[in-house]
Amino acid sequence: MVAVVTPYTTATGLMDTLQVTVLVLVALGATAVVLTRDPVRQVIVLSVYGILLAVLFLAFQAPDVTLSELTVGAVALPILLLLTLAKVRGREK
């Protein structure tokens, strides 16, 4: 592996550590999302998972995708999910 070195590159060791840490957290996060069986709680876990993914994408040098994942994965989708659950709960009463 040939690392490219320029004045603009981040220190490789630091980046590696960050990436490995976040990757492991993402894997755990995905597991947590799936294993949370209560839908409302799951939405919150999903939101956290979205943020973790966003951090991972930042560490992968993808700020554009980070922004999308934050707006969609961590905010918009949870809103849609909560609205759906509100609807479903309402009917169960």
Binding site: A3, T6, A30, P39, F57, V72, V88
Partner: protein, 114 residues
């Protein structure tokens, strides 16, 4: 480090599919589908990464600076939109299903239909 990101991809995919297969609640199932899709983002961005390279923006860095692959990032962006669109549609179906059948359990839904 060489293969770790890709192992994580397989793990996310497998866990998401496990969630779909064992889910007893449609909203839960849809969230698991979102997890399955998130594995593709990680894979896309993973294959386009270059160690030590900068993000593909040349506003304040010179044009020849090594940068990570911008194409996979564009693809991942499209992927995010698809995810949002499909999830919204599926949630609408789920609401309707609940209204019609009074349940969101796939087993009970299938029973009702016969």
């Amino acid at each position: 480090m060489q293969i770790l990101p890709f192992i994580v991809v397989v793990w996310i995919l497998a866990v998401g599919l496990y969630g779909i297969v064992t889910s007893r609640h449609l909203v839960h199932l849809i969230v698991c589908l979102i997890v399955v899709q998130s594995s593709t983002y990680v894979l896309l961005l993973g294959v386009g990464y270059k160690t030590g390279a900068v993000a593909p923006y040349f506003f304040d860095v010179p044009n020849h600076t090594p940068a990570v692959d911008p194409v996979v990032q564009a693809l991942a962006l499209t992927d995010v939109v698809v995810e949002a669109a499909v999830s919204a549609l599926l949630l609408a179906f789920a609401i309707q299903a609940h209204k019609r059948f009074g349940t969101l359990d796939p087993h009970e839904l299938a029973q009702l239909k016969g």
